[in-house]
Symmetry: C2
Subunit: 211 residues, 2 copies
DNA sequence: TCAATAATAGACCGATCAGTCTATTTTTAT
DNA sequence: ATAAAAATAGACTGATCGGTCTATTATTGA
């Protein structure tokens, strides 16, 4: 008989939960629906994860690992400049958005639908976010950009905008738009050391020095 | 005696619902909690709105009206260039983020926690989003930017990134970062013809495995 | 003043939720 | 081969959900 199902029970639960939490929402997803989609018995879920909340935490782990894999394995292997490596991140985003089971970022979605004062969701999601931003900042610093902190925050904001835009519009082209915006940010960064608070962005001093 | 409560029953329900839907999430917010916070009887909610879903739609209306007010009343009254008007939008965002009851955008949050295939949430939220983007694009076109479509999408993406970043970090400075990024986009836009001839740091397609 | 309207408190309903538990079958390791 | 471990189906619980309904009190307008 066919017995190609090599995935462990934990893995099946994790994949179904990740998919459903993002596609249907966390509160709107009942345990029973996860079990149906995973093809797993009720008791197994509570044996492995103990609670729906712990299952969500495990989903957080897998999504964080996706990001860490990008930053720690995929991007470093590219034979290109640091700047190109930063921009390549948006190509990875596009690949992600194109997946048929992309329905937004589970961190963002979880924060969106949970009590904003509650400790644990913001703490867990925030901690992972910090680790991801740290890796982004390391790239920015390595690129030699001035004001790396602000550049990092700009890029992080553009990444989050891309994720949300892709979720809302269900269109992966948000990654391409985000890349173009990131290119603008990087271009302005390298040619203008004094962008900070200038209320006159119309100054024709934009001597746009390309590389 | 004190009878300063001039707000109508509808208004009290609307304000409490908007606040709670964003602060605690839509699914996580029970009817009873809305009634408590609004100080209104159960029957009144169903008399005025008929269902929780209709109440959410009414909340959508109020948030959309905030945006329309910005674009149709606040920004046009500014005595400044179109470009400055576009950037002033981010100052309005900052004011919004600074409010003690800012907990994200109800459209984004609603999409995040509802079935992604479901008709009505994406349709209603998407329709409002289109109207807002249309107004943004009108400003971009008025500014004389080339490729106004792409510029509009970049700015829209930055706006959504600002909203989500502000929600996740609970820090209104996301608006400032977003404004800086928008300035970069606009700066690159106005000098865009000279950019195409530069040795642009465009990465070629990278052979990379998606996770 | 007085009838119509609006708002109130709160009991109540069926459905669904996360989580527990038991009894049985399948898988695994030795 | 066999005993331990893992997974199964599904009944069950107490709580909470959105929504209905009734009976009572305030508010309003002519």
């Amino acid at each position: 008989m066919a017995k190609e199902n090599r995935k462990s029970t934990q893995e099946k639960l994790l994949l179904a939960a990740r998919r459903l939490f993002c596609r249907a929402g966390i509160h709107a997803t009942g345990i029973t629906r996860i079990l149906e989609e995973a093809g797993v018995a009720r008791g197994s879920l509570y044996k492995h994860y103990g609670s729906k909340e712990n299952l969500l935490k495990a989903v957080f782990d897998t999504e964080a690992n996706m990001w860490f894999h990008w930053f720690d394995l995929d991007l470093p292997n590219l034979e290109c400049s640091v700047r190109e490596r930063i921009l390549a991140l948006f190509d990875l985003l596009e690949k992600w958005f194109e997946k048929e089971d992309f329905f937004g970022c589970v961190f963002i979605n979880a924060v969106a639908e949970h009590e904003k004062d509650s400790r644990w969701v913001k703490d867990v999601a925030g901690a992972y976010r910090d680790q991801i931003i740290d890796r982004l900042k390391a790239l920015v610093v390595e690129s030699g950009a001035r004001d790396s902190e602000v550049v990092t925050q700009k890029l992080g904001l553009i990444i989050e905008g891309a994720i949300v835009t892709a979720m809302v519009t269900q269109n992966s082209k948000a990654a391409h738009i985000a890349r173009l915006a990131a290119e603008d940010v990087l271009r302005c960064t390298e040619c203008s050391p004094s962008l900070s608070e200038s209320p006159a962005p119309f100054a024709t001093d934009s001597a746009m020095e390309p590389v």
